[in-house]
């Protein structure tokens, strides 16, 4: 978790009962909206939350717009276009507690796989008129651009963690978002280790918990959608996975090249093992990640307007 400042929110605006309720909003940058859907999937619990929070802007749920300021702002999606860079800067200024939600916002998302490839070649391959597509060469996490107060990891986020965070914010305590390996959850639940007993490569050891070990519970390996946990020894795991002789270096690197590929130390592990398979196929290869910070992210041409503001 980044910058767990433990701050609470002031109650600024009156609720129906007259008690002031914190103003909450949800916005998105480059993302699939799945995390917003998770908020909607809270159903009854969401109704209960509205007793305590004034949800002033939530495009996935309502066409009502409100431009801040916000007590709590949930940001979904990665910074992928020059416009995102501008917007996230503005949003940060009008927000007291900024919470990034999901793999895109916290790591750059699946779209960050392009960060290892030749951006122009990719764009030309995908779009018929690439000159009209304005995007950055790299998709990056919000925290690479502005300070973030809390992160909710996952693809999508865990509804329980979302409720826990809101509950903690409203009661002024530290949210219980544990930073430990998925393995801990597997062991507590009595899930048989898919790696030791099944020979299935699993990123659970280096991945932050919060998902409830859903993949190992279903007999498959964790693919790291909650991103690296603190001090994740990705290099050590990669070395081990590479020693069995069953996998090439590239295969091992590819295991880390998922929804949170661009989060360190997954990022440097992929780079050390030769980049992503897609980038190699596309013949990009020129860049091997590790890459420039926000300052060197440069605009290319026009905006597409398609995936940046969430208004459908």
């Amino acid at each position: 978790m980044t910058a767990a400042t433990g701050q609470s929110v002031e109650h600024g605006h009156p609720s129906r009962g007259g008690a002031p309720r914190p103003r909450v909003a949800v916005v998105k940058l480059a993302s699939c909206d799945g995390c917003q859907l998770t908020i909607l999937d809270l159903e009854d619990r969401l109704l209960e939350l509205t007793e305590h929070f004034d949800i002033v802007d939530f495009p996935e749920a309502s066409s009502a717009r409100n431009n801040g300021p916000y007590d709590v702002l949930f940001v979904e999606g990665s910074v992928s276009t020059p416009d995102h860079v501008r917007r996230i800067g503005e949003l940060r200024k009008m927000t007291r507690v900024l919470v990034t939600i999901g793999a895109c916002a916290t790591s750059g998302g699946i779209q960050a796989l392009r960060n290892w490839a030749d951006h122009d070649a990719y764009r030309a391959a995908v779009y018929p008129t690439p000159e009209f597509v304005e995007s950055l060469a790299r998709s990056t996490a919000i925290a690479e651009h502005v300070p973030v107060d809390f992160e909710l990891r996952g693809c999508p986020i865990s509804p329980d963690q979302l409720v826990e965070l809101l509950t903690a914010l409203v009661t002024g305590r530290r949210p219980q978002l544990r930073d430990e390996a998925v393995c801990m959850e597997c062991k507590r639940q009595g899930v048989v280790c898919v790696m030791s007993a099944g020979g299935i490569p699993c990123l659970g050891q280096v991945t932050q918990t919060g998902c409830g070990a859903i993949c190992p519970r279903m007999g498959r390996g964790c693919y790291g959608c909650f991103g690296p946990r603190e001090q994740a020894n990705a290099a050590g795991l990669a070395r081990y996975l590479g020693t069995s002789g069953e996998r090439s270096r590239e295969d091992v690197g590819q295991l880390f090249a998922g929804f949170t590929a661009y989060a360190e130390p997954f990022r440097s592990t992929i780079t050390d093992l030769g980049g992503t398979r897609g980038a190699r196929r596309a013949g990009g290869g020129g860049r091997t990640g590790g890459g420039p910070g926000p300052s060197s992210l440069g605009p290319t041409s026009f905006t597409t307007g398609g995936d940046d503001d969430g208004r459908h």
Partner: protein, 665 residues
Amino acid sequence: MLSSELARPDRTTTHGRWFLDRTRLDALIVALRADGRTVIGPTVSDGAIVYEEIRSAAELPAGVGDEQTPGRYRMTSRDDDRVFGYVVGPTSWKRWVFPPMIELNSGKRVGHRVEFTPARSTPERLAFIGVRGCELAALGVQDKVLDAGQFRDADYRARRRSVFIVAVQCTTAASTCFCTSMGTGPEVERGFDIALTELDGGFLLEVGSPDGAALVDGPLATSLRPASPVDVYTAAADVAATRARIGDPLPTAGLHDRLLAQLDHPRWAQVAERCITCGNCTLACPTCFCTSVTQKTDLEGHTATSERFWDSCFSPGFARVAGGSFRSRPRDRYRQWLTHKFGTWWDQFGTSGCVGCGRCITWCPVGIDVREELVAIAPPVSLTPEPQRVEPVAASFDDFVVAQVVATRQETIDTVTLTLSGADPAFSKGNLGQFAMVGLPGFPPLPISISRFTVDGIELTIRGAGPATKAMCALKIGDQLGLRGPLGNNWPLDRAVGRDLVIVAGGIGLAPLRPVIHALAADRRRYGDVRLYYGARTPADILYSEELARWHSRAGIEVHQTVDRAGPEWEGRVGVVTQLFDTASWEGANAVAFVCGPERMMQATSNTLAGRGVTPSRIFVTLERHMECGIGLCGHCQMGKYFVCRDGPVFSLAQLGDTFSREGI
């Protein structure tokens, strides 16, 4: 089927032995369930034999075995229908007596008042089927940790006391097992209600408690017949065979002290490169008891519940306070775990924290084997027995034994190595660094270090400096000489096991160190980096030059040489020996040093070594003094409180204190 008459056990004993036919095993489960117990036992689930609630013997893993190596577990099929033909799986019984999560209490805030209500509940009555020796021991460890001190875990106690235990003697073993080393198995001897040993047609059943006896006398009675001597013998033989198969994979003598003496060992950092700090080992461990408590509140913040759940010292947050974590590096956390489990657990609870079940090895996703780490970090003393004091021969003023020169080698212009044979066997059994008093008629006996031990004799490397040594150097093959010895103490090579070793020799000082190099080259992997620094007056004065090259190229020993004065042929270093490691990059905190040469060279070397962090208790020098008897009777070799011949010639700097560098002692 047997009549109840026949099967009626002798009520006077609770230690009777019975035979339970395989087809009647279900009677045991039925009886336990009828007693109101939830029966937990082995069953196949998700590719492993796990412990779960079972309702009949049909759920047991008949014909299933397992194969376990570091980081790897696979079920196998057996060619029989045994139900306990596996070892131990991923589950441990602590899941039931010390569950992964329990509710502790709920709290309320009403105005200014707070209320806490404990969540204590009456646990269900349990029966465990298939508890192995190591697992019984683990329950015993948990009893000591959680239910024996001043403060006790009431929840654990209530659950633990409700359990009826059906133990199983192990008749199979995995490569990861080391119960034999930890003294916990494969036999089960106490702590059970009933113990089974699986035989071809059924089970040898032993009673271990009044509850067990009640079961045998009551509901199980009609399913049992008295065990035959063959049943008893076969069971004992099978368990003994298991013990033999496991061997003694982790020598534990002195492990507590050995381990705690190695807090700075470089291996901690090396294993941390491999360790993912995922915590699997701790949660798979049947004795690890660390937990954390978390609070859940409602949105109003008025009511909260506290839950306690398994946690691990491997998680970075486990030792965190506001200012950071006390064990911030992975190596700190690995060290914490290993030293606790095998070391400080003894201090806290009077028992080892490890029972040798091997779960931490099998279920380490990257296959780290604690046994391997322990042997590397805290090498077993049993591998390096205290040198046996050899009883010297002719250890008197007036006697010698005779040996014959069988080979001579001119090492340098003035130095000869004599190979002696036919001497008393005591000599070839001598220790590294010992010397012999060597006598030729007409000359005073002289102390000469043994420079090699051979199967039937020794070698002596002698520099012809005076009349006696010149006479010895002039000996030819077939000549004889007189010996007393072997005498004196020895280089403590066992102190260097698992550490780096620095050997510094000047001139003829390489001779007493040569057996040390032979010995460590023969078992090189037990030592860390080994470096030999050797200085001679000129290139022509270098001893054993062929061997030096071989040690460097083949024995894994870094050999560095220097000379005081070089000729035109010399391409190596020139200067005093300490200059050789002035610029080296190694640190001495983990090193042991053996130094032999002129006293001034040894003083300078010791200072340099101390400057590199080698502590005085690990710097050993060998002293030269005038000796006539070699047995502490003539008085010549006194040095402070020591006779160098009897108490030395090898001393640590810590022993010598400031007498070492003092003139005129």
